[in-house]
Symmetry: C2
Subunit: 429 residues, 2 copies
């Protein structure tokens, strides 16, 4: 059985796994918070305006209001929800599963009148599918320059949308074949509107491929794995173990959520520092140890813009020590990057690579007034209960949306139907 047939079978199979389903619900909650907050970004206005001008049959809601064909809603909502780059990440997928898959699942569910649980199941299947496809494509695909969020994401989006649209197994294989000839997205767009747009393309491709498959469109049945298929043409390694335990074990259970509005490479350090409960006034010196790979990613020593501060160990350490909330996006401003007390504090911070640590770990040492040394460490891979995660995500959402809307959103992802969530995304309540 080739990968297309295996994914098609999985896409239409039962969803057993309450833990995975609850994790998907948390990802949905977090995705929606990022999406609603993202609607203020400049790209949101451009894409919304374009979609509303094109208009068409009112099938699915745009974030920020308006109804358009589901294809268009998936595109716009995917891009808007990734605009802040604050959504979930899966390190095995090497991508952001929710921004590609959820917009497709939601648009298809709204268009077809699916219920909330049906939508969650489809989103989980699609997200899990995208993680598996990401594993199958492997790190080479990412390294050469493909944006796995978009490429692997398109296949997951097709699976989610196809499940809701009621595709047969054969039609699901066709949908994957169509996604194979449309899936795209380059990492060279990072730092431009092209990055969130890539997530939107993936969601749109998923809808388009599934929709055409419902209509009997014929594509290559080995569009992913066959000769000149998506994998072989896109530097995919064809990792054989990628599908191991598919339908039994859920890789989505190990998805990561961002609790801080900065580069993921900084998060273990922030948690390690917070665990020490230090006050700014008592700091003599701080040493941060992190995996060497991160030193080329997020070790800007003297950032002077909010964007650069998101990639600076020294600056975020100073923020934590000064009690500045690192989960609030507004705190990554140009002004904050230049705040004198933070600039003074960060001059006491040293960053070192340590290859004995995993990429998910950090270790900090603080010398405090009086000569004592305080040591802390954190591992992002350490287990976190769903309850604890939910609590952290609610705090994050409250920071993004205010407590009343965060609470309403929390209730909306536990409602029997999609209406409360849709209303919140439309900004009508």
């Amino acid at each position: 059985m080739n990968i297309e047939a295996r994914l098609a079978e999985f896409a239409l199979g039962p969803v057993a796994g309450e833990g995975a389903r609850e994790m998907m619900r948390l990802s949905l909650f977090d995705w929606a918070a990022c999406a609603i907050a993202g609607v203020e970004e400049p790209l949101a206005a451009v894409l919304r305006e374009k979609a509303l001008e094109e208009a068409g049959t009112a099938q699915a809601s745009l974030i920020g209001g308006g109804k358009v064909p589901m294809r268009a809603a998936a595109l716009v909502n995917g891009a808007i929800s990734h605009a802040l780059d604050y959504d979930d990440t899966h390190f095995a997928h090497i991508g952001h599963p929710s921004v590609a898959v959820i917009p497709a699942a939601l648009a298809a569910a709204e268009a077809r009148g699916a219920g909330f649980e049906e939508m969650i199941d489809a989103a989980l299947i699609g997200a899990e599918g995208s993680v598996r496809v990401g594993l199958w494509l492997g790190r080479d695909h990412y390294q050469i320059g493909f944006h796995q969020t978009a490429t692997a994401g398109a296949f997951g989006a097709a699976m989610a949308a196809g499940r809701i649209m009621g595709l047969s197994r054969d039609a699901m294989v066709q949908a994957l074949g169509l996604a194979a000839t449309r899936a795209s997205g380059l990492k060279s767009q990072f730092g431009t509107m092209g990055k969130p747009y890539n997530a939107g393309i993936a969601a749109e491709t998923g809808i388009e491929a599934a929709d055409l498959a419902t209509r009997g469109f014929v594509s290559s049945p080995a569009g992913m794995s066959g000769p000149q298929g998506f994998g072989p043409t896109h530097a995919g390694i064809g990792e054989e173990d990628a599908m191991e335990g598919l339908g039994e074990r859920w890789r989505m259970e190990s998805v990561s959520h961002k609790f801080h509005a900065c580069c993921h490479g900084l998060h273990a350090t922030i948690e390690a520092l917070k665990s020490l409960g230090l006050a700014a006034g008592e700091i003599e010196a701080v040493t941060i140890r992190t995996h060497p790979r991160w030193l080329t990613v997020c070790n800007k020593p003297e950032p002077d813009t909010g964007l650069a501060a998101k990639f600076s160990y020294r600056h975020v350490a100073a923020m934590v020590l000064a009690g500045v909330d690192t989960s609030a996006i507004v705190n990554f401003s140009d002004k904050m990057a230049k705040r004198p007390d933070l600039v003074a504090l960060r001059s006491r911070v040293v960053v070192d690579g340590d290859a004995r640590l995993s990429e998910m770990e950090a270790r900090v040492e603080a010398n405090v007034t009086g000569g004592a040394t305080r040591i802390g460490s954190f591992d992002l891979d350490a287990p976190m209960s769903l309850d604890e995660r939910g609590g952290k995500l609610r705090l994050k959402a409250a920071g993004l949306l205010g407590t009343p809307r965060a609470t309403a959103l929390w209730e909306a992802v536990r409602a029997p139907d999609l209406a409360p969530l849709t209303k919140l995304l439309q900004l009508t309540s």
Copy 2:
């Protein structure tokens, strides 16, 4: 100046070159004939139905009738016009320029109220651009599995649409950057609806990229050629000479048109045989010599379907000898593949590879009753006047559409405005 800047400048520059413009007019005529004839293909019904269901602002006409947003029209019309695979080919591009570029130029022109000559200029610029990008990507890109019609085509479509939309030079670079993160299309779709669909994707991508660029969307300014740009990630060779003489010499002047409804590899042989003016009854034996590459492409010895007959030297030779019109699609039927007199005739045909011939050449030797040998040859690269080409294209169009519609179409591509052409494509006149 990188390739993006160079193409952007060219896209907005003057169009000097009456020969190239006349060639583009012939390609438009031929494209429209293929498109109108293609509307009977099964994929046309699926894509038209989907676009009409999605509906939206009536900006541009669908082939077969109905007006939809220009993005949707470009997608549907691109696919329909490539459904018969009877449109133009450029062997340096390694692709079909018109099916990707013309649907984008036409949709943008109709939506923006552009005149006929403005549309022709934009189509020529886009087609020339796609050929140059195809050269820049090179044969490796094609060999690894990318469908150059779709990938190089997307950039050409963006140039054509962007010119009509009045993009600035900087915005044109943005459009090319957006096309870089969307362009896709795999050769593994050949033999399925995915192949013509790829042409539609390219046309749609061009419109989408240009439209977003008009709205100030920001992408990578080196999306094609920079690190992790489209070329480096898609096995592009980055051919340095690809842009030589851009704006002065027109590669589109050497585009090829299909005058026979079968694989291009057979066309030189057909012309060589026709030049001998033989009758079926006098044939003892025929030897065909062709470039060895074609032997793996179109040398099916005993085809028993119409599709297989399109890839058979022996069968098309029999058709020519028996006086069957090889320009008529209907003659490539299952019934014709099994017609006893053709099966008998093709048993007298031998096919040999000859590496001294170019891929465009063929040589035939016929032994006729009485012991004489007749020798003919043909080179598809031999010059053909625009008048002669126009005459052949009119005959082909008459075979596809009937003489009255072919004549109306011939007049429509010389009209001052787009209305007559649009009406013909809508099948309303």
